[in-house]
Symmetry: C2
Subunit: 403 residues, 2 copies
């Protein structure tokens, strides 16, 4: 059934026809809402059109869609059992692997959503300290629960109580927020890098990261790294290894199981008792198939040197885009880690250029996003990057045509 | 690897060795923590011991573990794709089926956890009404987010702001709470029946259910049915069809996909715009495999007349237990729907009898719970009930030995 026909049916039985971050309504014309298939670095929409997939399901797909090694491990576990009266042995194996791998981690717990993990981190920090205040960067995305959703509809002021704001990479504002929290400071929560919606991405300033660590050490608060979006894509041991700062708690999800639903919190020994004292749980949090997929994902990422491969392809894409943008005389800003690229056009407040670019690139077979950071996966090869760059030429041509 | 060895390893890398509702620490001696396998109405622990499973993963397993029809549908979808850049066509099919089936439903949205669904209902109700106050029954479980977790560790008073309490099945207390909320009443949230921890279960009093409906109609508030635990087990069209009262919003999860991670909110047209206005989302909420599993689960439940079958087996169990309890001269209270039984012993404030009973029954091959309601599934047959009743004889004998 066609995307158009599916949209018509969806309009009757789903509010607005679709909801949340996968809603195609705000994407340029021509973008599909429904997807039929994924394989490696490619997706097919409901109309059968194939794209090089540079969203990778907004982060979960890191080795490639339907990765054979991951799916084989998932199938082996599914043949035994998935959701049981307790965890399967694979949960212990996964927790051990995270503790071995994640630089700060002495223990792990598992959830389903990234939001579950960030919320659990905040809860554990409050239980550990007996305090309430959490410092949160303005514009950072930590999930879609009432305490953190970027859209206030249906939430109350009480949902956002006990939060103080600072600016990402602004150590002075972080210190000021910590001072304002006074004796009530429970935690600082911070994303692995600045990947706020529709603004240039910023890598973490090491001085800012060290300031966060120092404030938490001095005040007995917990440093929470929200590594949901970036975790395992930038560094196998946790994203802030790149700046040499280790958090007390980390939230992971997205790429941890190559698309299987899983999240994890890792923490230091000092937070272990607090983690055991809180009641956070869910019907499917111990399901074994996603955990078997996670063990296989982490193993395969190491075996294929996935981080280095995604970096290399990301740099190839970045260089090729810069060259072509210059050739077309179009101002393009590229930001963030090479494997999680964002590009925004100069003089494009209404995103007309970004939309024209992406619509044309889509037509040429590249699924890009005009405002949100994108994601490479380890299945992308030089042929895929070449196709994206060809598609980008069509995009730049369309942008030039706007003038 | 043995359960004991797994526990020793888990103690090092998981806070308290395990967390949440699947933590075996509070179960009687002999209960396993880790499970190796499930099939039909049976589970095998890590030591290879087989049990008739009367917890069914605390609710998700409704057709039986590894149901062939459900797993085949899941595998067919997995061979195409799971977590993509948008939903697969199966999401529309599932939404249509829920709208067809659920008596009050004009639309559906999907999540991963029961808590996601109850939280989304509250958020949608607040968005629709522009009000804040939610009426919540004392002792009811609506999930493990900070606003509803039964253990306050790590939560703040603000997390529970804008909630007023009433007693389940107590219409007068419900009216008083509604009056106290005044013009700020956004919603009443109520479980399908009273299934609070460690107290006798109560089916909903139709007069109470009608009072809830009437209050919401008169005050323009939303009636939210938390059908996470009971949904699809008691009635194919929503659990309150039994009392003839239809909610405005329902939260489903647990049994919806026979163990695959999924939750759903269904609602009336009057709440559609509000549902489209809130931002609730998650990385895996549109994953297609769980939705294909849900379509197959609902279809198979109808085909096998699963509700009637679970009822029949539950009644057989209830009658057999009553007869044996009387034979041993042991006071046993059985409560709740036959397919979701709870039994508590008379004069058992410290649960010593319940624990002795369950420990002996476990030894004899029946996995029961001493304090929490249990769950039958459609794979349970008369042989399984006979085994449980034999095991119960061992249990009653152990209870009599306590005196």
């Amino acid at each position: 059934m066609s995307d158009a026909a599916l949209r018509a049916r969806a309009a009757r039985v789903i509010p607005g026809g679709m909801w949340g971050h996968l809603n195609a309504a705000r994407l340029p014309e021509g973008y599909p809402q429904f997807f039929a298939r994924g394989e490696g670095g490619h997706v097919w929409d409901a109309d059968g059109r194939r794209y090089v997939d540079l969203m990778c399901s907004w982060g979960p797909v890191v080795l490639g869609h339907r990765d054979p090694a991951v799916e084989a491990a998932a199938a082996r576990q599914a043949a035994q059992g998935d959701c049981l009266n307790g965890p399967a042995p694979v949960m212990v194996e996964l927790a051990e692997r995270l503790v071995d791998r994640i630089a700060h981690a002495d223990w792990a717990m598992f959830q389903k959503n990234g939001t579950d993990a960030t919320t659990a981190c905040v809860t554990i920090a409050r239980a550990a300290t007996g305090r309430r205040a959490i410092l949160v960067a303005r514009g950072s995305y930590h999930g879609a629960a009432p305490w953190c959703t970027p859209v206030p509809a249906g939430t109350t002021e009480a949902d956002r109580a006990n939060q103080l704001r600072f600016g990402y990479n602004d150590a002075a504002s972080l210190r000021a927020a910590a001072d304002a929290a006074g004796d009530d400071l429970a935690a600082i929560i911070v994303t692995a890098f600045r990947h706020d919606n529709v603004v240039d991405q910023e890598l973490p300033d090491p001085a800012f990261a060290r300031a966060a660590r120092e404030i938490c050490d001095r005040r007995g608060a917990a440093l929470i790294l929200d590594d949901v979006r970036a975790g395992f894509r930038l560094h196998r041991a946790g994203s802030w290894e790149s700046v040499g700062v280790r958090p007390d708690l980390s939230a992971f999800s997205k790429a941890i199981a190559n698309g299987h639903a899983l999240a994890a919190v890792t923490g230091r020994d000092a937070l272990r008792d607090a983690a055991a004292s809180v009641f956070v749980t869910g019907s499917f949090w111990c399901s074994a198939v996603a955990m078997a997929a996670a063990v296989a994902t982490l193993e395969e990422m190491d075996r294929r040197d996935a981080v280095a491969r995604m970096d290399a392809m990301g740099l190839l894409l970045r260089a090729g885009l810069a060259e072509r943008a210059a050739g077309f005389g179009v101002g393009l800003r590229q930001s963030g880690p090479p494997s999680m690229p964002l590009f925004l056009f100069e003089d494009d407040a209404d995103f007309a250029r970004g939309r024209a670019f992406c619509a044309a690139a889509l037509e040429a077979g590249a699924y890009l996003h005009p405002r949100h950071n994108m994601f490479l996966c380890a299945a992308h090869g030089e042929d895929d990057i070449a196709l994206v760059l060809d598609a980008a030429e069509a995009g730049f041509s369309a942008v030039r045509g706007l003038r």
